[in-house]
Symmetry: C2
Subunit: 402 residues, 2 copies
């Protein structure tokens, strides 16, 4: 059921949005006739829509294509610098800013470590400074930027989903994140959870391009999934969909930072892995071991490290099997430092997943590594703006038609 009434002018917006989507995807060498075929719209309609896009500067006629027996088609190409989009990835311990164009090219980026968890206001102040500096470096005026996306390392919270769930980050309690940036940037702004942002990035520019539904699993200190269903972020009713880190896979298992037992995150999250290595090798917990150290040593043949990583892989596989049984996405994309472990980890993930989905068709779901790596989340934050801008409701504003 769709509780939305439709009026005449919405038709144009919907179809304009549709043409735009095809141009953004198949960009080079698209002719009007190609668009007719792709959209199943009439020639009249396509010509009218293309004229609008030509006038607004969104596309240009760049030449003629190959003939297939008749008049050669005029090729249309989208102008990737028609608009830029800005994103900030607020991580647990870093801030990463990025500007991308309409083809997903990274125009500029800036990143630095920051104690995000314990300093809410300082984080946002620093983010503002980094964004401003990045705009200067890129020689871009704010008027060329379509909007700003911000990702945060926690589920969204509040009636308006305008703050973060501060359970693990008490200093962020009650802060309306975007309000900290609004005085400095007169732009449409979007707030999103980091895993959801990563999911959108892989859908637009990464391994998810060909798929309409996917799960993007971000493995870090915490573990969360971004679910893309029907090409849109799926947030669930209260915004907590995709919280795979706190799904139970061992009902009386180890204690998790959330206070419960047997959460997947307590086995697969970075602190869990470090603790396992430390306890199994008799190293003191206070030693400054990093996940990179653990993986490097494993690759150099340290058997205990390898075993710990493989165990984590098996637990991750169970959680993914549960995800496939419940949500059944087209593809699962894994992202995070731990992915540097490569096949050692992946083989365990896949075999453990296969065991637990055998009678179901979910077993054919590919599990792959992220293509965008550490850029994924910041890129996704920026992509939120583009994603929104080409929706029928916003398209006239985006093309400066209003």
């Amino acid at each position: 059921m769709n509780f939305q009434s439709v009026n005449v002018s919405l038709i144009r917006e919907q179809n304009l949005s549709l043409v735009l989507q095809y141009l953004l995807q198949n960009s080079p060498q698209t002719s009007r006739t190609d668009l007719m075929r792709l959209t199943h719209l009439s020639g009249t309609t396509v010509s009218a829509l293309v004229n609008i896009l030509l006038n607004s500067g969104f596309v240009s006629e760049t030449g003629v294509g190959e003939s297939i027996g008749g008049r050669r088609p005029i090729t249309l190409e989208l102008n990737p610098t028609f608009a830029y989009s800005m994103g900030v990835d607020i991580g647990a311990s870093h801030i990463t800013c990025m500007i991308i164009d309409l083809k997903g090219n990274v125009v500029a980026s800036l990143s630095e470590p920051f104690d995000v968890i314990h300093k809410a206001h300082a984080t946002m102040k620093r983010a503002k400074e980094l964004l401003t500096r990045m705009l200067e470096i890129a020689h871009l005026d704010l008027s060329r930027v379509a909007g700003l996306g911000v990702s945060i390392p926690a589920p969204l919270d509040g009636e308006k989903q305008d703050r973060l769930l501060a359970f693990y980050m008490p200093d962020w309690e009650g802060m309306v994140v975007l309000d900290e940036l609004r005085p400095f940037f007169d732009l449409p702004m979007f707030l999103e959870n980091d895993a959801n942002a990563g999911g959108i990035a892989e859908k637009w520019w990464g391994v998810g391009r060909q798929h309409h539904s996917l799960a993007f699993i971000k493995l870090g200190v915490g573990v969360g999934a971004g679910l893309i269903i029907n090409d849109e972020i799926y947030r669930g009713f209260a915004g907590s969909a995709g919280e795979i880190g706190h799904t139970t896979i061992e009902s009386k298992g180890r204690l998790c930072r959330c206070g419960n037992r047997g959460c997947m995150e307590s086995y697969v999250g970075i602190p869990g892995i470090l603790k396992d290595v430390q306890s199994r090798r008799g190293i003191s917990e206070s030693s400054l071991m990093t996940i990179e150290d653990v993986i490097a040593a494993a690759k150099n043949g340290e058997p205990v490290n390898t075993e710990v990583l493989q165990t984590a892989g098996r637990y991750l596989g169970i959680a993914i099997a549960n995800l496939l049984n419940l949500v059944n996405p087209e593809i699962v994309i894994l992202n995070g430092y731990i992915m540097d472990a490569g096949d050692m980890l992946m083989q365990e993930v896949v075999s453990s997943m296969l065991e637990r989905t055998l009678p179901l068709r979910a077993e054919f779901t590919p599990i792959v590594a992220s293509r965008l790596g550490r850029d994924a989340v910041a890129m996704g934050a920026a992509t939120l703006v583009i994603h929104q801008s080409i929706q029928p409701e916003y398209i006239n504003r985006f093309l400066h038609l209003t």
Copy 2:
């Protein structure tokens, strides 16, 4: 992203569908002006659409409503007998047929035990006989029936989702279920998984009426969930979404009939519960104990039975917590024989769920018992027809306008 182009006549169909939905929901005492307010359509448009519905016989003007200071409104009421819909619930060990009208009134129903699992063709033959007999009893001609929905106790399978996944029911391997009925009923037919059908029924006629997303968990020999998201059945990419029974909650737990360990179903499904009672009370496994016996004894104060049911409840609560963390529906609806246990079970389910969703907003999700009980699935199968018929694509045919 919506890859659907829009043409002019689709507007009418969309808006007609919208008006129909409101009439089906708010049925008694709806005036044209009410519809204007509800749909945000203009008076002209609403009047035109209402005239179409009056001419087709779908609604009637039944009288006048209360004045609020001016002319009294003409009340429109949908004619519930404009069309009927037929459903068959093929269970694991029963066949239930049902005819409902457009208000969800049960016009006729027939049910009998049947060894469905081991006899595929015989089941469908018997279903055909029951449906024919039910039509006779109800004195209904096939021309008054809008379609036939069929539910099966397994996930759908095949490219066209036209058969069932025969892992637990080998006799059904390869059978295209609806093809067995097509020669006898010249009707639009729909095949659906039982839990999905139950979900649709609760959404339309039960406790899910006010909600746009819900999870309907069917607890029987197997345990499966039907997910309704944005008022539509969510099937996932390969049709295996909602397979909550085979999600792992104990990575090295008991063996499940699917061959894996620690599936929720092995603790909460009827065979698991019976085996627990038998082993804890030293009764032989071959004794003919039913789940009804177990519940009745528990209610009469048998502590072992109560404990077993409570343990099942705790496991169910964990699986529900996982579902809330991953899918985050608005409400969870429980259905099945085991629900007769009442509060004894529900309290454990809820407290175990709460423990595991505490830091997340999912904790506020209500968990309630099904309102439709054993009728839910057959009713849902029938409702599939209505659900489809009022979609914009089919609405003209439904109103006999083509």
